[in-house]
Symmetry: C2
Subunit: 710 residues, 2 copies
């Protein structure tokens, strides 16, 4: 049914159900916008009263609307919508936008009404946007099904928004600045068409060069990841999501009832899906404008051409914070610049032409900089002063940008002197920012996307020696006996071992004699760990003893740890070699599925909060990236004379954990803490493994297939 999505932006004929002849009504606005916005195909107002609106005949029912008609825009009171939608289905429509509010967001009755809409849409194979939205725009067709004052200029940004108000505010801003958009979709309650569909609706539009998304909840997280992953190499996705903090989460819940979800899972999903994450509307638009208009940079080196040193220094600071570098200019470039810039100009990068350069110098010096092989991007900064006319400078920057195959952005520091120039630049396709830091952030966005596009495809690396059937059997046994909950430590270790994760030999003992006998089979030295109902953090209650090296040591440790408590027992375990302590874990996220975590282990994990997150399953590259992001990685590389640890072993363990979590979604939680990373070549040992189940394990048949590398 995916092709049906095109009907929202390219319909042959649009019916407006509930169209009013009263210009103060929003439904009049929709007819006005379709007509005055220039939609080139038939428009059919529908209203039982009949008559005429803006010279268009009003039909009394959608059933009477002639061909061609492919999209209905519905804005009648909520209780009447189901009937109208049914009629649309009968009329043979496959696409409807329900602008009307008063559904899920209005309480249980509304939610029930909304459910009816879903059933109706499904029964007629109809796709539905909304309810509770402002509709869609395509500035190129053009098509405007909203009641918003007017459309922005045609351009390259496709915008998908959960919130109609944010669409409205964005359009109002775009019209003041000349920023161009291709398509805009306000999705409202996302009863059917959701953010993932929104992304899909943009992906094949030839005018859309960047997909900009505003989201609150992402109920079907994996679908979003798949939709984004399909498109991100062709088109960048810049995404702003509300509800990434405690306060924001509460605000989102009260706004739309959406579950904002876990922040780390969301960020891991965006990483997998190649999505650029931003944190404000301003940052989103700043980066989208650059991505919509500029080529991608080959490297991270920026040249700054300016008439003021201060803003250039601020820009340089911000570039540095985002990992971009100031380009080193060749002596040839410097010589050329010397001939074309004012006396006294500072020719190092930033190239400071002092207060009053000729406007044309921005073109000539800009071109010289763009031709320098050491320059990947150019930022032109101008602070208006009494001498050089701003429009001339702008024309000069536009001319340099037009001939460039490298990104060019402009920063104009001011207000009243630059209002018109902002529009000129945006319409010419040169991004402009009123603050040097924002210009730097935009260049960083271009560079970030270039890196995302160049990366290896994330996804599972092959895992050899995994035995899913053995894992299934352990999990099934546990499930049959106890249902959901934590596996015992030995079973947990066995699960890890079945996926090729090295674990020390271990067993349980419920008396001192059993402990002594077990020690004999395991050998020394041994670790003893308390197994006691309700004790989660063993170290906190003296429930961990290490380095037991004789039978008497084992006996005495048992007596001290357990005493005469009959419901307590111990696990004895081979001691892992000395090494660095890492943690590798999994949390099953309700939106995104299993998320793998890795970082510094041991008792400090909660204090240092040093952890990286990725969606399972993952590639060696993913795991390597996780290690590189964390202090754990830097420490395990070996610092200050410490021998380096086995990074390869750590990475291998992370990949195996990811595959295990992916193959067994019934695992709701997994923690290896510590994973002891021995010296290079000696591998990584999962010393303490905790695994919890929350759903019934799947059949081994599925499992063995799932465990194959893809």
């Amino acid at each position: 049914m995916a092709g049906l999505l095109d009907l929202f932006f390219d319909p042959h004929g649009v019916a407006v159900i509930g169209a009013s002849a009263d210009p103060s009504k929003l439904s009049y606005g929709v007819v006005r916008n379709l007509r005055n916005g220039g939609y080139p195909r038939p428009i059919y107002p529908v209203n039982p009263r009949g008559g005429e609106i803006l010279g268009l005949r009003v039909y009394q029912s959608i059933l009477g609307v002639p061909d061609p008609v492919e999209l209905a825009v519905i804005m009648i009171p909520a209780p009447l919508v189901p009937e109208a939608l049914t009629q649309c289905g009968k009329r043979g429509l496959h696409a409807a936008i329900v602008i009307t509010g008063g559904f899920r967001e209005a309480g249980p009755e509304g939610a029930e009404l909304e459910l009816r809409l879903k059933q109706i849409a499904e029964s007629y194979e109809m796709r539905l946007i909304g309810p509770n939205c402002v509709g869609v725009m395509d500035t190129h067709l053009p098509l405007d099904t909203t009641f918003i004052t007017a459309m922005p200029s045609p351009g390259g940004i496709g915008f998908v928004s959960h919130s109609g108000a944010i669409c409205g505010g964005t359009i109002d801003w775009a019209r003041a600045t000349g920023v161009g958009f291709s398509r805009i979709a306000s999705l409202g309650n996302q009863l059917d068409v959701d953010i993932a569909d929104g992304i899909a609706m943009m992906q094949d539009d030839p005018h859309t060069r960047v997909i900009s998304v505003y989201a609150e909840g992402l109920p079907d997280g994996r679908r979003f990841v798949e939709a984004a992953a399909r498109v991100y190499r062709r088109k960048p996705i810049v995404m702003l999501k509300a509800g990434l903090t405690t306060s924001g989460t509460r605000a989102v819940a009260s706004h739309t009832g959406a579950l904002a979800g876990n922040k780390q899972a969301y960020l891991a999903a965006c990483h997998r899906a190649g999505v650029l994450v931003v944190h404000s509307l301003q940052e989103q638009n700043d980066i989208a404008i650059a991505l919509a208009t500029q080529p991608l940079p080959v490297g991270n080196r920026v040249a700054i051409l300016t008439n003021a040193g201060g803003p250039a220094a601020l820009a340089a600071d911000e570039l540095d914070r985002h990992g971009l570098a100031m380009a080193d200019l060749t002596s040839g470039t410097l010589d050329q610049l010397a001939t074309m810039t004012p006396k006294g100009a500072q020719l190092a990068n930033p190239v400071d032409m002092l207060g009053g350069p000729a406007a044309s110098m921005f073109e000539s010096a800009g071109e010289v900089l763009l031709q320098d092989p050491g320059v990947d991007m150019l930022m032109a900064i101008f602070v208006p002063q009494a001498i050089t006319p701003v429009p001339d400078v702008v024309a000069s920057v536009v001319a340099a940008a037009r001939r460039s195959t490298k990104p060019v952005v402009c920063c104009l520091v001011g207000g009243e002197s630059i209002t018109e120039s902002i529009i000129t630049l945006n319409q010419a396709g040169v991004p402009v920012y009123q603050d040097p830091n924002r210009a730097s952030r935009a260049l960083a966005g271009l560079h970030e996307y270039a890196q995302i596009r160049a990366r290896e495809e994330p996804g599972p690396s092959p895992v050899d020696g995994a035995n899913p059937r053995a894992v299934y059997e352990i999990l099934r046994r546990r499930w049959n006996e106890f249902g959901a909950g934590f596996l015992d430590p030995v079973a947990s270790g066995d699960v890890a071992a079945a996926y090729g994760i090295r674990t020390p030999g271990s067993g349980f003992a419920a008396t001192a004699d059993e402990a002594a006998a077990l020690a004999l089979t395991l050998g020394y030295p041994l670790a003893m760990k308390l197994v006691a109902p309700g004790v989660i953090h063993k170290a906190d209650v003296g429930g961990v003893r290490l380095g037991l090296d004789s039978v008497s040591a084992v006996r005495s440790a048992y007596t001290q740890m357990v005493g005469d408590r009959s419901d307590w027992r111990v696990m004895l375990q081979e001691m892992a070699p000395r090494g660095y302590e890492a943690i590798v874990g999994v949390q099953s996220d309700p939106q995104f599925g299993p998320i793998v975590m890795a970082g510094l282990g041991g008792t400090l994990v909660e204090v240092l909060r040093d952890a990286a997150f990725r969606l399972a399953p993952l590639s060696s590259d993913d795991a390597r990236g996780m290690v590189a992001e964390t202090a754990a990685g830097r420490i395990i590389k070996g610092v200050r004379g410490n021998a380096p640890g086995d990074l390869t072993g750590l990475i291998d363990a992370i990949v195996r954990v990811g595959q295990l979590a992916h193959d067994f979604p019934c695992i709701s939680e997994l923690d290896i803490n510590p994973l002891i990373v021995g010296e290079a070549g000696s591998g990584a040992w999962a010393v303490d493994v905790r695994i919890a189940l929350d759903t019934e394990p799947r059949e081994p048949a599925d499992v063995s297939e799932a465990a194959q590398p893809r």
Copy 2:
């Protein structure tokens, strides 16, 4: 001579030396701005050609200008400036602004010329702004000595800027948005009047409510700290400094030749001086507007009143990131809101009145929220739509704000519909932001300043048992023998011990026999550390052995570590008790003097980069703050069953190190790593102390005085 600074903003009579009658000249612009800007006192153009400019008589020489005249604005070619300045001195002037460029920034000749200006100014007791600046403005007198198109509206922001271009850009922006300024000073090369003076010039101005500073270098850092510390409890200081990164530092150096300086030292200085640190022009202005117009909040709880849920959720996220909270509304508030907001409004905080509330609801519901005792600040968010006129909403928000004793800020999400409303709000003294995150950041700035103002005065806590004379003697001995460089570890330990920092007993041994004899006097267990020329990181070469518990262990360790190298020897040291490893250090900063550092110690210090910085000397409160900022503090508190360490001992050691560094500025570097922090009550041990001298130690007389608590 400080009172002379007033002459720059309140002079009785201004002479413009080099005034031109040609309207295309900048010097004409200065006369025009003085006159048309409304300066109410005599204006004297000076030019050897004589004549008339804008109806004002042109004097041929400053010597011929009649009384009253108190300020000269000089804009003649650089080589002529010394003579003109001399004549100003002869005429009895004590204040001059040199707008002319071509001095230090133009190379060695210019620097020499600039030096002459300084000598002339000093010989006539003249204060001087510039050279290479754009002059000053006072919008209230009014006075405008610049050639910039026109002044911004009168308001409460005093702006001090290193850069003239940033003044120009800021004024251009202010004129487009209606943001008001009180005084503006462009300081240029800061030959005489510097940032510290700039702050002082704002402090007693009744119209200046916030001091906003843009700086590149701060050559006399301590003077800046003193100037800011004098004023920050009365007026907030918001400061933007370029050159906080590698790229920014290079850009600053190439722009003004200024030394950008060390970032951590700068941040420590701002902490001491009560300065709010910002990182972009936008952030600076956003916060300054709020501080200039709003009362300070009593707490951190924010209510949001909005017609759109999305922007409110984004605002809530950003509030959370800055440590502000969403207020819990009382049931009384909720009941009242229910009577005055549209049906279906979400009454939790954010209070979402849905798309089309009546404009007046922003006033009525806003007042209810402001009266809730659990609300400390209000943010009103409005996204323009087709129904409610923006100007009515704005009037309603202004009315609520006018009657409020709590801060109110407004966020308008849009562009073309809000341009006029931005001016209305700014002129009414209600801060307005086009992005919810920016509004949240501004509220966070208000809260941050309220906290700064409420804090205890930072500064030295009394240090008992310090013996500065003993330290002086050790340092003097070292200096006489070797000059600059590192003290040996024993002498370093003795210096620390003389300031009451606990150190293990220790001594040197140059043979195995000496080591054995020394061990006898120190007792066991002992640590042995290599002392070898050129070996800085002992652990990297096996030069550290711990837990030596017998004479044979000491002898064999000596043989292994030193062998037959005659220029190597060892230090033997009592073993400190087991404990947490912290680091406490000092770096002497060329701009700000000694900076104290504390954080996680041991071999991981470089990887984790967990450190806090403060200016020496410091109070227990300062030291407590440092510990609270770091992971070291969280770890030493005791996590996961580990016993808490002696935080009091750690804080005491930090304060003592600060006092030592302050009393002996000849110490260029001091490192205690590790400082072993034992269990609570057992103190902190400086196990490894490294101290370097770079200048001659001062006389003990100064020292013993300096060591007294103030």
